[in-house]
Symmetry: C2
Subunit: 473 residues, 2 copies
């Protein structure tokens, strides 16, 4: 069996192989686009299901807006078009003719959704308007990597309109917190939230909040963002409403999104030398049962026991499958399901049946256990919870260990690459000092609350607030 | 309040208004593309949820393939490209540059999925391969109508590969039957299944099965199709596998799909002069509770009773909302929810609370009923089932009444427009006779099993089988 590249020596090579070997994804004939295979897509379906429920519970409705957007729409908000123009895919011909106005494939849908909002919002009674869309978007990226940065990707984009700035800002915070819960409670990926600098914020937004995760190599991964757009798009799309004082006002807008990139975060955060390690709360398959046949024994008894166990686990809501493929050794099956990161494996052999027990092995190395068949459903449920908790704690500890503090870029800049670390430092707020980080291929990932050092990491003028500095995906 | 066009005199005008007034859809600034509003999208989500469960239960896995397909891929199967070329939207520029090879937005995904299949299928052990994709597709249509024919639409497309033609044909039938169940048991839309003629079949397929519904105006609506592609695409994409005899073989392929068009069928089949009528099994809101306030009475008691009733209904899995919007008359609320087609309305006023009862009104005219609050959950559950059953029966009877038999095109051809009818007749199987139907703006919707008349409807030569003839959407 093929071995993965050494995860410690060649983390990048490991990632590029494990995603194919575990059958999450395949290369497509279209540059930068990915084929998401059933196992990878099942992870995305789990993420969608969890997040969609929370999006609805927080008062949003799903809707759908066109894939294609008139080029002129993008141009209405000056910063917006400047930010996205270099990445657009453009439809110039359709139905055998050249189009009068080219259409772009949506890189994000603010413009077309705001156009519709301006039709729907007439009075303060129409607010808040809270819409979400699950969609594919296209951004023509130069360098792509499956899940992390692809030309086409999947996401949800929430778009809301509010009477006041305060209410809009509250929405930005609420959805950011929903993202944090998804990341930490389901993906078991610890994240740090903060504000993007003006340079890094969404084109056209007043403020961009982000949640960032730090991968084992110390690089940051932006997991998603929540924007306070305020009124600039409302002005651009003439979105006015009669307010409670019977005056014409512009609503305050927000948008927020997270993408298939989360799958990349999941892979990198938890994977090991054997392959994926999936947290039980998001794993498409939480338990695999492997019947072990021995020549001279009755395999039908084992198969029956496996199916009975599967049913009992399913009743408790456990996602469980049986691998009874013929012609493969137990060892090769163990290898396969470890590669795919299934949290718990149950082995059932003739000896086990005799002893009314099963062998239970977890994917995170807690150790092999022999469990009486009568206890197994309860034990597996507990074990899945334990694994989830431990995976998050381990990831959190590692993030903690990677996080260092320093007030001097000259000292920590060169360490950013070598040691798998990231830095909390303090910043004066000036773009010149931010730009200095490019020399170390790093950037400010987010601005934090509070201030550790009195001076800026670069100019040594008075600092305004702490920032996290890292290389990033 | 605005009145809808007369549904009997101007069915088409009625449809074009009811879909906007009921807030299913809105016009988009992109020609032929629609904005699906939350209420319309909620219907689609219900359809997706029901069908997705069956697609998985029948052994298929969801996956995802690129939106953009190299133009050369379409050309590999000669009939396929001929069929789709006139409808393609083409990306010629991306990332600020002209592309070396133009990319088309998928009109359907056979070509790119078969390309991937050829990588994944090596041996008979890899078969059957059963994949489904939920996706948006684009076909540049000249004349569009929301849901019925749009430039961009949503669908699922199943794609499977099998060892034998028989097994592939069985798959085609299985999925066709799943579609029939969705249409009849959930949408309450009666359908007739049959085979498409060579002229009407999917470009590149050996055989296309269809399920057709007949709208109140007598026009047929193709609800979806299930294709036996056989080996032509396998040859075009060099998809070979080692069979059980250790020979290189080509697999037999199928594909099958159904779309957001189903929402159009739902609207037309059941709607009435007051608006939509949604079958309970697919309605996003099955029950609306309307508290009725009277001046001088305590509205908080009524609100509390409404919420308690909502909770009890939700416990039983009923999708229920409360309309307690202030400043609107009960009459205007009745109007709104009738327009939106909610199957059951519950009115709760001070008198009702006094008498420990509620007023229950159904959307299909069974009549107003006073139900004790203690019985209401059970009664509503029964009523929803009754409504579902009656809606399907009514639609089935109307379809039956519209279906006529005749062996002579000269007699029935001109009736196709005038009477809201369609015809079962017999056909020789020749394309010339099929083409003759164009004079009546009609077509063969499907070929049925069996033969009613001995001679063809046009040439009077021996007939081969019965066909359904109708105008169509």
């Amino acid at each position: 069996m093929k071995k993965l590249p050494d995860i410690k020596q060649d983390f990048s090579g490991w990632y590029n192989e494990v995603i194919y070997d575990a059958e999450l994804v395949d290369q497509s004939p279209v540059k930068g686009c990915m084929v998401i295979r059933p196992y990878g897509y099942a992870i995305w379906e789990r993420i969608v299901s969890v997040l969609d429920e929370r999006i609805k519970a927080t008062g949003h409705s799903n809707a759908s807006f066109p894939l294609l957007i008139p080029e002129s729409f993008l141009k209405r908000e000056a910063q917006h078009v400047a930010g996205f123009a270099p990445e657009l895919a453009v439809v110039t011909h359709a139905g055998g003719k050249e189009l009068e106005e080219p259409l772009v494939i949506r890189p994000t849908s603010e413009t077309i959704i705001h156009h519709m909002f301006s039709r729907w919002i007439r009075s303060w009674r129409d607010l808040p308007l809270k819409i979400n869309q699950w969609a594919n978007v296209v951004r023509w990226e130069m360098r792509t990597r499956p899940f992390l940065r692809t030309t086409e990707f999947f996401w949800q984009e929430g778009h809301t309109a509010h009477e006041t700035r305060d209410e809009a800002d509250q929405e930005v915070q609420t959805m950011l917190q929903e993202y944090v819960k998804l990341a930490q409670n389901y993906l078991a990926v610890p994240v740090i939230t903060g504000t993007k600098t003006d340079h890094e914020k969404f084109p056209g937004a007043e403020k961009t909040m982000t949640f960032e995760a730090f991968m084992p190599d110390g690089k940051a991964l932006q997991m998603g963002t929540s924007h306070l757009l305020s009124q600039s798009f409302a002005h651009a799309f003439e979105m006015k409403f009669q307010d409670r004082q019977e005056q014409q006002s512009y609503p305050y807008l927000t948008s927020w999104g997270t993408t298939t990139r989360l799958i990349g975060a999941l892979v990198m955060t938890h994977g090991d030398q054997k392959g994926l390690v999936l947290p039980p709360n998001i794993a498409p398959i939480q338990v695999v049962i492997i019947p072990i046949f021995k020549s001279g024994t009755d395999s039908s008894v084992i198969i029956a026991a496996a199916h009975s166990l599967q049913k009992n686990l399913q009743k408790e809501g456990v996602r469980v499958c049986i691998d009874d493929e013929e012609g493969k050794t137990p060892g090769s099956k163990f290898f396969k399901w470890e590669l795919k990161g299934v949290p718990v494996r149950i082995e059932l052999g003739p000896k086990d049946i005799e002893n009314n027990q099963a062998v239970v092995v977890d994917r995170i190395g807690l150790g092999k256990r022999f469990i009486p068949l009568s206890d197994i459903v309860a034990e597996v449920a507990t074990l899945l919870n334990t694994i989830q908790t431990i995976m998050f704690k381990n990831a959190q500890e590692r993030t903690h260990q990677m996080r260092h503090k320093s007030d001097n870029l000259v000292e920590f800049g060169s360490l950013l690459e070598e040691l798998g670390v990231f830095y909390q430092t303090s910043w004066c707020g000036n773009a010149e000092c931010e730009t200095e980080l490019k020399n170390y291929k790093a950037s400010i990932r987010c601005i934090l609350e509070g201030r550790t050092f009195e001076t800026c990491f670069h100019c040594k003028q008075a600092s305004k607030s702490d920032v996290l500095v890292a290389r990033s995906y």
